[in-house]
Subunit: 437 residues, 2 copies
């Protein structure tokens, strides 16, 4: 018999249908024997009246794969407003051992409990609440892609195995590559800038690797990044506008299409600016506002201190009705060799904060070859190093003004759902202590 999915049964009242899935709950109350079945759409309740059918389930545990055939009866108390009666049971895969965790009950996400969450990931991902996190995640990456396709970005696919570490040598994973040393890419930045010379607008969603020995709520050793780069931009604003518009569009869409999921996960209400423009404050402005409001003087700091990130997020939500805020124009000393430095002693670099967490860095790049050489030399880099050869070639033979972003997909998922640790937004997180499951 053709399989009916659990959320479709109410359309078949009076008919005999078959549902397939996992034994999710068994309540045997003497004469009333309820079996709840789980499939990819959700749950269905069934009543097993026949004793010989019930006998087939003796000793079988949650997780047993089975088909249930019965007559659909409308019942308001059942999930989906209908249940199956007079059920016959067909066991496909018996499970005889009791699972070590309750599938029906989500594992707590409290910080002291996260190891349990990940140690039992194989089974707790069968919990319907836990699944919603990763359905939302799948939609977020899908909508990011769709937004960028619509703006003529070409999706590229660049290697993660590199010959040389070009930045941050200490935090790079190294491996033996047929007797040579290879490293794992910390970001596709050089490749995406090179590709601006061909396609003008490119993006990639893929893994980046950071051998950071720190275990915080913000860090993973293997993370998923959306990297964007776009050429022929008039100014930094054009890049900030695109990334801001993308983020708002994608958030609006996920809040719309996953409204029920977000509600049941207690995700925060979404607040986006009415005029569609993410509020922007320079680092100097934030220092000034913060110092005035709190009495703690930060005007000499080059970066935002963590409490300032939280504070400006609260301020922007209150004053501008926005969960998103840009902190722009970092002091020049914070800039890297590939950034565009401005005449006023700042660097054309913005951080996009979402609910108080930096989810993207959005800089404009230096695109003039001679200036690049100058900036690299000033930072003590050897411009003749083999690891820079191909990157510099792109500049030498003409790159337009360009900018882009490194956008943390894991962090976007985390803050969309109001999770307190980025690992909760990841199926199988990797950190200094965790390589399994």
């Amino acid at each position: 018999m053709t399989r009916t999915l659990t959320n479709e049964i109410s359309a078949h009242v009076g008919e005999t249908i078959t549902i397939e899935g996992w034994l999710h709950k068994k309540r045997l109350l003497g004469g009333l024997n309820f079996i709840t079945l789980r499939d990819r759409r959700g749950l269905a309740q069934t009543k097993v009246e026949d004793k010989s059918e019930l006998e087939k389930l003796r000793g079988l545990q949650v997780g047993t794969v089975l088909a249930l055939t019965g007559t659909v009866v409308a019942d308001e108390r059942a999930p989906g407003g209908a249940e199956l009666h007079d059920v016959t049971v067909d066991v496909h895969v018996p499970v005889t051992e009791e699972p070590p965790i309750e599938i029906d009950k989500p594992i707590s996400h409290k910080s002291e409990n996260l190891d349990t969450l990940f140690d039992y990931r194989v089974l707790n991902i069968r919990n319907l609440q836990e699944q919603k996190i990763f359905k939302v995640r799948a939609s977020l990456t899908r909508y990011l892609r769709e937004y960028l396709y619509g703006k003529e970005f070409v999706e590229i696919d660049t290697p993660k195995l590199l010959a040389e570490a070009t930045e941050g040598g200490a935090e790079v994973f190294k491996l033996d590559y047929f007797g040579k040393t290879a490293t794992l890419a910390q970001s596709p930045q050089f490749y995406k800038q090179i590709m601006v010379g061909a396609f003008e607008r490119v993006f990639e969603i893929n893994h980046s690797y950071r051998a950071e020995p720190s275990a915080t709520t913000r860090h993973l050793t293997e993370l998923t990044m959306l990297d964007i780069e776009m050429g022929f931009v008039k100014d930094h604003d054009e890049v900030l506008d695109l990334v801001g518009d993308m983020t708002q569009t994608v958030l609006r869409r996920v809040y719309d299409e996953h409204a029920d999921d977000l509600k049941s996960l207690n995700a925060p209400q979404l607040a986006l600016p009415e005029d569609g423009k993410v509020p922007r404050f320079t680092i100097a402005e934030i220092h000034e506002l913060y110092t005035k409001a709190t009495g703690t003087d930060t005007t000499d700091e080059k970066d935002l201190i963590p409490d300032e990130e939280r504070w400006i997020a609260d301020y922007t939500r209150k004053e501008h009705g926005s969960d998103l805020v840009y902190a722009v124009d970092f002091p020049a000393e914070a800039g890297k060799f590939y950034h565009k430095f401005k005449d006023d002693g700042t660097v054309a670099w913005g951080d996009l904060l979402f609910r108080g967490l930096e989810i993207a860095t959005v800089p404009l790049r230096e695109n003039n070859y001679d200036k690049m050489i100058e900036q690299m030399t000033a930072k003590g880099l050897d411009v003749t190093h083999e690891g820079f050869k191909f990157y510099l070639q792109a500049f030498q033979f003409g790159l337009p003004q360009h900018g882009g972003c490194g956008f943390g997909v894991d962090r976007l998922v985390q803050k969309t759902l109001g999770l307190s640790n980025v690992k909760e937004a990841t199926l199988f997180p990797r950190d200094i202590n965790r390589l399994t499951p």
Copy 2:
């Protein structure tokens, strides 16, 4: 002035517009001075009449980033049917050195020339013909995703850093992970099977790593795979049908939407079966047909010999009008521990051949825990090994019958375009000898 893109200029005949891009060609013929500009949409021809404007380009080479402002004049001989006259020149980024390759001329893809192709990738990707390969590639992955979204597959994102190598130990890259040894994933197979227990239908497009010391036209050390897994399948046919339908749908769409690109790249004509069903032959049938046709007896071989792959591809194209063919039911001794073995001495495993190259393996899995333990033990594997713990947990607590595929994205691109080496389908290929650019 607002930027007009090159393929839009014919809509502005009589108007003064600005185009921006790269100096692509300069032909100075005394009185007639033509400048061709390249942008992301293609090329535009312009005429520079004013000597002082021409002077701005003295000594500047291909790649120079510039804006050209002029009046649009219809001209059938120009690309797009119009060109710019009376042009004023605004140089954004001067290039003073002549590029080491001609951008206007595609680098030959002859096998003896591939190293040149990749050594100059940074610049040859600026060639419009070369770009088409990667636009087709971006569309193929996009359409694969869209097909799977439409069939309720959830996109998952699984780690490439693993604690243990679980198969093919010799061909695994190893790295130092904070004093422990980690390996790079050869495939997400264990993870996708685990996820069947939650979402029933999952897929992932991501990199896989194979430390194969062989340098062939088929192999990469870092490859891009589409991994699919689907549960609650009735039989192997259901999996073969889905993967076959997906491949045909995606190929039809790319042949339709990239018709001009494919034509100009001399891609082969697409031949798909009229009834939409990919022809299937068992390994035994292919051996028999081949032996009869060629006189070479292969009936004792367990796998197809390479010439048989070519032969059955030709045969299927001639007899069934199809570029795709399934070779199914491998002899049991070819099967792996996670395959479903059939009673007739074969394994429920199909290879999808596209124009003579295996692009996907499409097996049904053993899903019964006790049988898995039995099959693993028979293959000499230690079922108590830490590396199998989480994988086996998924089976122990109930997995439905499932199957899927490992689908080579690089190979799909290669054979779609009729390229002779898989590396040509890859922006920055990695093999035993190549880690740069």
